[in-house]
Subunit: 177 residues, 2 copies
């Protein structure tokens, strides 16, 4: 999908954050712009409005920002995936790889019913490790993944290779750092 140039112009690029050589794409400058925020949610909505979505699933914490707004607009429910130890009821857990070592995320075991039609939404598709773990959690609960949506895709990190069995929507693409 073509990058949205207006949206891209509202992103702030910060060199060497969180460490040297990384360009951090700061979405807070998009979020505070009412026109950009509206456009993002509306584009996510347009992708799914006719697809009978029952729940939007997002990963803590930036994913929460767009996830609940989209769920509201779709008249769907919202399901958070959180870091280990944050969710209070019975959960299932999924490990995923970080640059060094592993981390784990959880979803409530009763958050997704078999057959639920699910959008998984996050702010950023980088290497795809986080979203791949989120997909596994939803699939273990027998949710049907209708699509994956991202505000930003760092295409040079090839995250699509890990999750390409699902339809992917991204609004802004960066081809290099």
């Amino acid at each position: 999908m073509k990058t949205d140039e207006y949206l891209k112009s509202t992103i702030r690029s910060i060199p060497d954050f969180p460490k040297k050589g990384i360009v951090f794409r700061d979405i807070t400058t998009l979020l505070k712009d009412p026109k950009a925020l509206k456009q993002v949610v509306d584009r996510f909505y347009d992708e799914y409005k006719d697809k009978d979505i029952s729940k939007v699933v997002s990963v803590e914490s930036r994913g929460f920002i767009f996830g609940a707004a989209l769920a509201y607009k779709l008249n769907a429910g919202f399901v958070p995936i959180r870091k280990k130890g944050k969710l209070p009821a019975e959960t299932i857990i999924q490990e995923y790889e970080l640059e060094y070592g592993t981390d784990a995320m959880e979803i409530h075991a009763d958050a997704v019913q078999p057959g639920d039609r699910i959008v998984i939404l996050d702010d950023l598709l980088a290497t795809g490790g986080t979203i791949e773990a989120a997909c596994k959690l939803v699939e273990r609960l027998q949710g049907e993944i209708v699509g994956l949506s991202f505000l930003i895709e760092l295409s040079f990190l090839n995250g699509r290779q890990r999750i390409g069995r699902h339809p992917i929507q991204s609004l802004i693409t960066y081809d290099s750092e």
Copy 2:
């Protein structure tokens, strides 16, 4: 304001989480219910729709869930307050007290302009320490706080005493543990 009994019925109460004697009010059962999620956002919206709000400010991470949805609906911008070290550009920082010790939260220094009309929104009003710190951050940037909104108020913790100079909206009240 009167507690909304339907909304309250969708909250799951979990005894002894995160520690013995505390009843944790789990909002994930509300979030996954499309009717409840819609009702929450619509009630926040009704409170502010005629008040010319320019930005909705929320505290990481559960606050993000409703904050961006409300901002979208109001055609306002969304501003996240995050834990120390997460925001990449220039910030101002505010310490606040925890049960033992202190923690700190940050907002981007350019996130609020003088005169911005602000709603601060969080999922929970407990002792009020977090929201008081959020108010200080907004006031230091010369934002005008139009109101504070919460999904849940634990009224027996008297959080209103700390922030009562601002109008407060809460949708669900618990008078005791």
